[in-house]
């Protein structure tokens, strides 16, 4: 194999800005870090500034695609790049980068990923993050963008449900590779040194329930949790409820918000939690925070979205790794939380932690590299300047 040992120049395109935290952004950063640690050269193109969350990326490897504009798209407001100026930037980046292959994230959105797919002459690997059951954009795409979709050499889906979307709406297939986490960071979170922990962490004498996610976005499901709170508090008056995430919103008494938190605080927060609740209503392709909670050894209670069930196991499965409840049903959520608080199952938390270890970048990244090699081995000779052995 020609590419077995050689260091690869990988051009990664992230459609969302690193200014704001998000699953896709974290995935790109995590993968870039893994690639660099294994001796490859990742380069990242994304809108906006690098941002503090991406500090370890390195300025020389990052290129900005310009300011993204907020536009309503597919049911929410997306900050995207489009137009001839962005297209020219993307083309220039592709030409100057001399990449062995390019790795696009969410290629079928009006974004620099799609522009890069359009302009790419290198082998293309594309990761699909969305698992919307009826994605309007994907349906439209299969007609309009058929030719662009054909250019993808290897597809990656972050979950089986995301893969199903790719199969049904794009007529393509994808290898399922889940998102990666930094397992050791989270698994060690329970033993944080006292001086590094904030004031809010030390009062962890009472049981603690944690929610992490945007506070002002309905689909993250905070409303379901808030509706369930009176029921939970009735049975467990001493329960501490902490929510963390971007956005402002009015919270009821007995519910504490930390606002946007750093990666380190997230690790500490999960390390101090007893129950982690993921009440998402829809469109959650992959529960990365869920995995991080599992890595931290926290009991997980999540809505029964397909990707969550894939991860945690069905409701009455004896080997399940967490508890799922009917999407949007606050009574079921309350019941599940109380069940966990009344009868904690340390063995299940242990199993969940072991399962989360499989999602560490060290193993997830190996599979991504295997996809890169497979894509390169099927690339035509002229596109890579090297023939297949």
């Amino acid at each position: 194999m020609t590419y077995r040992r050689r260091s690869l120049r990988v051009g990664m395109v992230c459609p969302y800005s690193f200014d704001v935290p998000g699953g896709v952004q974290n995935h790109v950063l995590g993968l870039a870090r893994y690639l660099r640690e294994s001796g490859h050269r990742p380069y990242v193109l994304a809108p906006g500034e690098l941002g503090s969350s991406a500090a370890d990326l390195g300025l020389e490897d990052f290129a900005s695609a310009g300011v993204a504009m907020p536009v309503p798209y597919n049911g929410s407001v997306a900050r995207v790049n489009f137009g001839p100026l962005s297209a020219a930037r993307v083309r220039r980046w592709l030409r100057n980068g001399k990449f062995d292959l390019i790795h696009l994230h969410e290629p079928i959105t009006p974004s620099i990923s799609l522009l890069a797919l359009w302009a790419a002459e290198q082998p293309v690997v594309a990761t699909f993050h969305t698992a919307t059951p009826r994605s309007r954009s994907m349906q439209l795409a299969s007609g309009v963008l058929r030719a662009a979709i054909e250019k993808i050499d290897a597809g990656i889906a972050v979950s089986e449900s995301a893969r199903n979307v790719v199969i049904q709406h794009l007529g393509r297939d994808a290898v399922v590779i889940p998102n990666g986490i930094r397992f050791d960071d989270f698994a060690g979170g329970r033993h944080m040194p006292a001086e590094r922990t904030a004031e809010w962490l030390r009062s962890a004498q009472q049981p603690r329930l944690v929610f992490i996610g945007r506070l002002d976005e309905p689909r993250k499901g905070l409303d379901v949790l808030l509706a369930a709170l009176p029921l939970i508090k009735q049975a467990r008056p001493n329960l501490q409820v902490i929510v963390a995430g971007q956005g402002s919103r009015l919270l009821p008494a007995g519910c504490r918000t930390l606002g946007t938190i750093s990666e380190e605080s997230k690790i500490a927060l999960l390390g101090s939690a007893d129950v982690f609740v993921a009440p998402q209503l829809a469109r959650e392709s992959f529960g990365i925070v869920l995995l991080e909670a599992m890595a931290a050894g926290v009991h997980v209670v999540a809505s029964d979205l397909p990707s969550f069930v894939d991860l945690l196991g069905a409701r009455h499965d004896r080997r399940r790794l967490g508890d799922v409840f009917t999407v949007g049903d606050h009574r079921a959520l309350a019941q599940a939380v109380l069940q966990v608080l009344d009868h904690p199952d340390p063995m299940r938390a242990k199993r969940a932690q072991q399962a989360a270890q499989n999602y560490d970048w060290s193993s997830v990244g190996t599979t991504v590299l295997a996809i890169y090699r497979a894509a390169l081995s099927t690339a035509p000779a002229k596109r890579t300047g090297s023939s297949m052995g």
Partner: protein, 166 residues
């Protein structure tokens, strides 16, 4: 409308039509070529997998019965000039044998595991490329105008990958 205008319009329509057809033909060609390349990659990956499997025989501490089982399946998969159906069966059998012997091996063969993963990835890429090519080749315009030329129709490779961690 004057004759000249009609003629001009006709020419424009023709140009667009020819451009569309050329474009479609290039897509058909690209998809067919890719299916051919993914097949050679899959072929190479399957050969690599069978070779690694055969190497298990030299593993210290392996019992002769297991060694014979693996060697037989690997040799069957490496048989030259198998027809597609036979090859699919032989490769599936090798997957089953590897699954069966895996818990009985003295040490876990990491090289073989990565070859198996590679074969599985290559197979998915190949079948995906074949599906794309077939979808294009079965379009009405492509069939009527024979845009696929005389290139052979690509076919998917169906086999059991076995229980590999992917």
């Amino acid at each position: 409308m004057s004759t000249l205008e009609i003629l001009a319009l006709l020419i424009i329509v023709m140009v667009i039509l020819v451009w569309r057809i050329t474009w479609l033909a290039s897509r058909v060609h690209r998809a067919t070529m890719r299916a051919e390349r993914t097949w050679s990659a899959l072929d190479a990956a399957l050969v690599g997998r069978a070779r690694r499997a055969a190497e298990l025989v030299t593993m210290p501490g392996i019992d002769p019965a297991t060694a014979l089982l693996v060697l037989d399946a690997a040799a069957a998969a490496l048989e030259p000039d198998l027809c597609k159906g036979d090859r699919e069966r032989a490769e599936s059998d090798l997957s089953h044998v590897l699954d069966a012997v895996d818990p009985m091996l003295p040490t876990s063969p990491t090289e073989l595991a990565s070859e198996r993963a590679r074969a599985s990835i290559c197979r998915r890429l190949h079948n995906d490329a074949v599906a794309t090519a077939l979808f294009l080749r079965r379009r009405f315009t492509v069939r009527i105008l024979r845009l696929a030329g005389r290139t052979a129709e690509p076919r998917p490779f169906e086999m059991e990958d076995g229980s590999i961690a992917l």
